[in-house]
Every structure is written in C-alpha cells, then in structure tokens.
C-alpha cells in the first residue's frame, strides 16, 4: 500500500513546472492567510474568554480596516488570476510543428493513432522532447483526456474537435485518465502514456504492425468509397474537385465563407446538405453509418496531403489568439 506513495505528482512536461509554481504560490498564500486567521482566533479565544466582572467592549467597526481587508485579498486574487491566465496561455497555445496524433474517445476506451498510422488502444507512445498535439473527438458522451504528470486536461466532446498539446521532458510511464464522468466503466477508461527516447520510439514504431499511414489509408478509402467519381475532374463530376482545397475557404450556398478544415470535411461527409459548396446541386448522400470517426480522420489526412498546405498541421486560427 505504501508502494509509490507520494504527496506530490511527478512533473514530466514543459508546462508542469509552470503550473506547479503557481500552485505552490497559492498554497503559500492559503497557508499564510489560514495561519494568520487561526492564530488570531486562538489568541482572541484565550485573551477574551469570559471572566467574571469583565464586559465586552462594543465596537462599531472600522472603515479603514474594511478597505484594507477588501483591497489586499482583491489584489492577491487578481494577481492569482493574472498568473493563472498567463500560464494557461502557455498550456493552451501550441507551438508550430507539433507531431499530430488523433484521439477518439468512446465508452470506455481511448483509440489513438500515430502520425505514421500505427494505432493503439489505451496507450500512447511518444518521443521525449517533441511537442505533441492531439486532435480529439468523442463517439458518444463527453470524455476528458487527462495526464496528471503533464498537468494537461481537455474535454473530449462528441460532435466537435478539441485539441491538447504537451511536450514530455522525462522518459517514463505516466497515467492517462478519463476525467469527465462517462458512465459505467468510467474508472476503467484509463491508459498509459509511455515517453521514450526518440530512438526507442522509432524502434517501437517499426516494431508495430505497420498500420497503414493515415494518408495512405485515406487515399484507399477515397477510392473504395468512390469519392473520386464525383469529386475529381471527369465526365461524372458532380461536386467540387478536392485537390488543393484543404486549408482554403469555401463559398457556401448560404452565402458564407467557411474554412475548408477538419470540421468542414467531417460535416460534409456526414451531413452533406450543411454548407453546400456554391455552384453544385445538393445530390451527395450522407456517409453516416458507413464511415467511422477513424475513417474520417484518415480521409482528412489524405485531403490534407493533397490540400493547399500539404503539411499536416494548423488549420485553425491559433495565431490570432488573445
């Protein structure tokens, strides 16, 4: 029972230390305030205990004191906000050139896919010292991807992509938890994050059954689902050609400009009538039920590879952030 017992979690990512600093500051503030209040209470309790012949002195109050003990906590709390916000932006804003992993949460497992196509369940092998970005979606209820050693956590929501990034600093094996209650086996929706030396990671990758590269499986899906029939130039073309499109803007029939990004591709596959591209008939059938979330991620990877920016990566407007 005392195995691995500790009172403070391991810190194994670039942001962990920053979060811990703020945490310790807050612990210090709490300890200071609590000690102050408790010792005052204790002192008053002894000093002013009821004694024969001594009466309480009635005191109205004191405006200067009220101002003081409103202003000091306010200043401290706003400082805690500022610091928290600053570190939060570091936790939240990913660097450029992250390795792109795909995560699908479902009751009750994590399905994870490497940039090179290898798949694993409830485990994530990553190289140390590389920024990693996970693009995540849920197939059913809300889950939450939580790695305590990295001090990162993000809800994995059905119907919308969320993302999280981290850079591991220490080789080792760390807990992966689902932190949003998701039903019966919530506490078994756990796994491991295994941080390896880059060389070991390469070796691990090559030892895996060479799962098809997402771009390659996406290309196969694109063929097998006969997407090309309508979406490549030719006599039977009925929809927009998709080469060079990813990362651009689409003019929709509702007159809006929407980004041709992961969400757009996903929604166009599952619900083609939403945001139809201008200049085409509404003839596409939904592929709901025929493709899995993983299939969609592969198709996205393929479209990215033939897109405007062939490098897998940024599509959202992170640069404009706050």
């Amino acid at each position: 029972m005392f195995q691995d017992f500790s009172l403070f979690p391991e810190a194994a990512s670039t942001v962990a230390g920053r979060v811990d600093e703020l945490y310790l500051f807050l612990v210090g503030m709490t300890a200071f305030a609590a000690t102050g209040i408790f010792s005052t209470l204790l002192f008053f309790a002894v000093r002013y205990r009821r004694r024969q012949g001594r009466k309480a002195t009635q005191i109205e109050g004191s405006i200067p004191l009220e101002v003081l003990w409103s202003a000091v906590p306010l200043a401290l709390f706003v400082f805690a906000f500022g610091w928290g916000a600053k570190v939060y932006l570091e936790v939240h804003n990913r660097p450029k050139d992250c390795m792109q992993f795909y995560v699908t949460g479902k009751q009750w497992m994590w399905k994870i896919q490497h940039p090179t196509g290898q798949r694993e369940i409830n485990a994530l092998h990553i190289p140390v010292g590389e920024p990693i970005e996970l693009t995540m979606i849920s197939e059913d209820v809300i889950h939450d991807f939580f790695v305590p050693a990295f001090r990162v956590k993000r809800d994995v929501v059905p119907g919308m992509y969320t993302s999280i990034w981290f850079e591991a600093t220490k080789v080792g094996t760390y807990h992966l938890f689902c932190a949003e209650y998701c039903g019966t086996k919530h506490s078994q929706m756990i796994g491991e994050v295994i941080v390896m030396d880059p060389a070991d990671y390469e070796q691990w990758l090559s030892g895996q059954p060479a799962g098809a590269d997402p771009v390659e499986s996406g290309r196969l899906l694109f063929e097998n689902l006969l997407c090309a029939t309508c979406h490549e130039p030719g006599p039977r073309q009925r929809g927009p050609s998709l080469a060079g499109r990813f990362g651009t803007k689409v003019g929709t029939q509702a007159g809006r400009q929407v980004p041709f990004d992961e969400d757009y591709v996903r929604s166009s596959i599952l619900d083609p009538m939403l945001d139809l591209s201008v200049g085409f008939e509404p003839v596409m059938q939904t592929y709901k039920g025929q493709v899995t979330e993983t299939n969609i991620q592969h198709l996205i990877a393929y479209l990215k590879s033939i897109g405007a920016q062939p490098v897998a990566g940024e599509t959202s407007a992170e640069g404009e952030e706050l």
């Binding site: 008053f44 002195t57 209820v141």
Partner: protein, 548 residues
C-alpha cells in the same frame, strides 16, 4: 451578571399555549400553516434525507478503501455517488438552513406572526417531500447514475437509469425552493415590526434575503434545463444531443447558471447563522455590521457572473474562460470580508465556548480553507490540472460540510432551546462538535493531496499509489459518521429529559429571545416595537445589571 439574574432565564415551565401544544394529532401537523411547525416538519424530513445521503457516503468511502473496486460493481458505485450527491445537494444542503431556521426564525426575528404566505409555505414543504419521494422511487426503481450534475449527452441519451423520475424529483423540489424564496422576500419586505428598519435587521435576515433572491432568479433556469433533458430523452429534439446538432456545452452553461449561485443559496444562510452565533457568544455587535450585510447582497449578485469557471476545460472559448476566471476572483472578496469581520468581532469580546460557539469557530477555520482553495479553482492554469479531481471534491466539501453543515449544527444547538424549550446536554455536545471537526478534516484534507496527485473524481477503482490517502480519508469518514450519530441521539434524548429553559437561556439579543420558549402559537402576545439595532448587547447587559 449575577446568579439571580441567570436563574430568571432557566427552569421556566413552558406556557400552555405554546405552538407545540397547539394540537397533537397527525393532522395538526400535516395541515399546519404555522411557520414553526413547518420548520419542524422540514427538520424531520431533512434529517431523514441527510441520513440516507450519509449512508451513501459511507458506502462510497468503504468502496474506496481498496484500489481494486471490489466491494460493489461499477454500476452500483456510480449510483451510490450520484444518489449521495442528489440527496445531499437537492434535499439537504439547498433547503437546510432556510427551510428549518429561516422558517422558524424569520417571523420571530422580524416581530411578525407568520411568514407572508403561510399556506404557500406548507405547499413548499409538500413539494419538497414529493420531490424527495420521487427521488426515492427513482432509487428503488434502480437508481440513477449520471452524477448529480446530469451532464448531457450522457443523461439525455446514453444513461440507462431512472433519469426522468429523478429529474422530475429535482424539478418539483426546485419549485419548493422557489416558493420559499418568494415567501421570504415578501416576508422580509412587508412583515417587519414597527421600528425594524433594514439596518436594524439581524444579519441572519440579510443573508436569507440574499439567498431568496438567488432562489427566485436562479432555480427556474435549472428547472427548465431539467425539463429540456427530459424532453430530449423522450422526443430526441436534439437540443443537447450532438448527434442531432445540439451542443452539449450549452447544457453545462444552463446548469451552472443556477448551480453555481446555488452554492451561495447554501452558504449564505449558513453565514447568517454564523453572525448570530459569533455575536451571541462574544456578547458584542458584529464588527462592521453594514459591510457584512451588504456583502451578502454582493455575493448574491456577483455569484451569477462566475458560472463558467466550472467549464474551463469543457470546450468553452478561451475568452469566456478569462472573463469567468477574473469575475470568480471578485466574488471571493465579500466572503473574505465576512471572515475578517467575524474574527474582528471576537476582539475585546466576552467569549464563552458553548457548543454553538465551537461550531462557529470550526466554521471560520474550515470555510477559510474551503474559500481559499476556491481561488485555486478559479485560477485557469491550476484548474486545468485539478478540474474533476479529488481537489474539487475536497474543496466543495470544505465549503458545504465544513461550512454549511457546521453552521447548521451550530444553529441547531443555539436555537434548540427556543424550538423545544429544553436544553441539550452540554458536555456530550461539545465532544460531538470536536469529533465532527476532527473527523471532517481527516476525511477531506487528504483529498486535496489526492486531487493534485491527479486522482479523478467519480472513480470506482484507482491506481494503488493513491491508497494511503484514501484509507486516511475513509478512517476520517468513520469518525465523522460517529460524530453525527451522537447529536442524533442526545438531541432526541433532550426532548424529554433536557433541562427546561426560559425565554432567553443565552442572554442573547434578538426578538426571537423576547418571546417564550417554545414560542406561543402566534409568536408574540403583542407585536413588539423595535428601538435599536440587532446585537444590542450593551443595552442588554445594562438591563441585566439593573435587574440584579
């Protein structure tokens, strides 16, 4: 003060037309519109629900004694913590102080004969009981496993448990809360005795006024949210179902719009009790009275602007996260002000450490920790790490149990002689207070550490390295459980064997102490006229000297 003055307060025979003697049949209770009897009805039913909720807590802690999850299956465990949460939050904490002490004391403190709408008051109790029974039915029919937060789309689509019945129970109980709020607002505005101006009111009344505002403004939003969950389950309209285009994050917005202010519904009346206790056992007016009064209103208003701090990792926008984080910091200030003012009230007081005062001092300690750990959760980066971990569990138990329940117990001992005309046994009561305080800390302090270590809440099984702290927590829970059993026994004992007391056993200021214990059916023989503010201890002491 002399012994002769003291004896005039003790050992008085209750008058024959006291409210307890106004009728003895079941009907005289179930059809009563007397606010004092309704308060006792609440006291009984709240104790029942608290016991049920407590039993669930015991089972949860037992399961967590070992990491394997071997005592119950996970289906059962999930139901246990959900039922613990729903019973404790909706059927104990939310009504607790207002329904028992607010009902009993507001009219007495205001110098009124009853609340503004006595029949509505009885209806509130029936709605509350009906809601509780529905939750019981849901429990017997297989329970509900969504967590007390009912997050969509789990609750609206995926859960295979009694979500609709349980939600209906909460909906009905919500209307009980709303009607109580309406009743209190009207009572406080319109039923004050002549001369009782706003700034002469006891702080207990101010706190209940602020709470009533939140009940009226917030509760309907969660009520309609619950209706939408039920509609979603029945008709799949898509409002919360991402498969149909709904946004599950919207549920969280609507839920927390009420459920964050709801924690102020729970804590504000507890703070009201605190002010009364501190004043009575220091024999002083509360330091900075107007500031403490206004801070209650400030909490009620600011409390509505911070709900998004429950959603920092949910998919809410970064901008909204920043706004809610900053505003959450602001709402911590009025709470801090209260703590400082209570502490300052002790300065140059004449402190006696009877049981209610022990609870009051315990409240200050535990609420300080509970409040300050709230700042951790309002601070974005730390919240990302501790969100949905045991840190959160520890934090809200420090506020809800360390705060609300401590004040509830303190108030119960303080006003027990007023309720029943008999005193509780002091020594055993003090022992229980110390046990509860120690057991509480042992239960919940380790959970702060567990949370920062990363143990997620609502886990049925957990990694072995968390076991030591969990064992400590369970050990503490057994002490805590024992601590709560004691008052149950000795308070029941005191109903028959407790020492009889006169109108004012504590020599306390306040209109409720000017009428007999137990009070007559219509509270006062003549409506009092108020000449000075609450906490007129200087005047009271002078009077006693004159008597002697």
């Amino acid at each position: 003060m002399t012994t002769s003055a003291r004896s005039s307060y003790l050992d008085a025979e209750p008058r024959e037309d006291n409210y307890l003697a106004a009728g003895y049949g079941i009907k005289s209770w179930l059809l009563t519109v007397d606010h004092k009897r309704i308060a006792l009805l609440y006291l009984i039913s709240l104790t029942a629900f608290f016991t049920v909720g407590g039993l669930f807590a015991v089972l949860v802690r037992l399961e967590l004694l070992t990491p394997q999850g071997d005592l119950f299956q996970s289906e059962i465990y999930n139901r246990l913590f959900t039922m613990h949460g729903t019973f404790m939050v909706f059927f104990f904490l939310l009504p607790s102080v207002p329904a028992v002490f607010g009902n009993f004391l507001l009219p007495l403190m205001l110098g009124a004969r009853d609340v503004a709408f006595p029949k509505l008051n009885l209806l509130s109790w029936y709605l509350y009981v009906a809601g509780g029974l529905l939750s019981f039915v849901a429990m017997l029919a297989g329970g509900v496993d969504t967590g007390w937060t009912f997050y969509a789309p789990y609750s609206s689509t995926y859960a295979n448990s009694q979500v609709i019945v349980s939600a209906l129970g909460i909906f009905v109980a919500g209307f009980s809360s709303i009607l109580t709020g309406v009743n209190f607002i009207a009572t406080i505005h319109k039923m004050r005795a002549p001369g009782l101006t706003w700034f002469r009111l006891p702080l207990f009344v101010w706190a209940h006024y602020a709470t009533s505002l939140i009940m009226v403004l917030g509760t309907p939003v969660v009520a309609v949210t619950i209706v939408l969950v039920a509609i979603e389950r029945l008709f799949h309209v898509g409002v919360f179902d991402p498969a149909l285009g709904g946004d599950p994050v919207l549920f969280q917005h609507l839920f927390w719009f009420y459920s964050h202010p709801a924690v102020y519904i729970m804590i504000l009346p507890a703070m009201g009790i605190m002010s009364e206790l501190i004043a009575a056992f220091s024999r002083k007016r509360v330091f900075g009275y107007p500031v403490v009064a206004i801070s209650s209103l400030a909490i009620a208003v600011l409390g509505f602007l911070v709900w998004g701090h429950h959603m920092f990792v949910s998919g809410q926008s970064v901008f909204a996260g920043f706004v809610f984080s900053l505003l959450s910091m602001l709402v911590a200030v009025p709470s801090a002000i209260k703590v400082f003012n209570w502490t300052a009230t002790l300065y140059r007081g004449s402190l006696s450490f009877r049981t209610p005062m022990l609870y009051a001092l315990g409240f200050i300690g535990l609420f300080t920790i509970g409040g300050l750990t709230g700042v951790f959760l309002a601070s974005l980066a730390v919240d990302v790490h501790v969100h949905d971990t045991y840190f959160v569990v520890a934090h809200f138990h420090y506020v809800m149990v360390g705060g609300v329940v401590m004040a509830y117990m303190g108030g119960l001992h303080f006003w027990w002689p007023k309720f029943f005309g008999r005193m509780y046994p002091e020594n055993v009561a003090r022992t229980a207070a110390v046990l509860i305080f120690a057991g509480f800390n042992l239960t919940f302090f380790p959970q702060f550490l567990l949370g920062y270590l990363g143990m997620p809440r609502r886990y049925h099984a957990y990694p072995e390295e968390f076991q030591v702290l969990n064992v400590l927590s369970t050990a503490g829970a057994s002490v805590l459980g024992l601590g709560f059993l004691l008052p149950l026994c000795y308070l029941a004992w005191s109903l028959k064997y407790g020492r009889k007391v006169g109108p004012n056993p504590w020599h306390a200021a306040g209109l409720e102490w000017t009428t007999t214990s137990p009070p007559p059916k219509h509270n006062f023989d003549a409506i009092p006229t108020v000449e000075h503010g609450a906490y007129a201890y200087a005047e009271l002491d002078a009077e006693e000297v004159a008597h002697a």
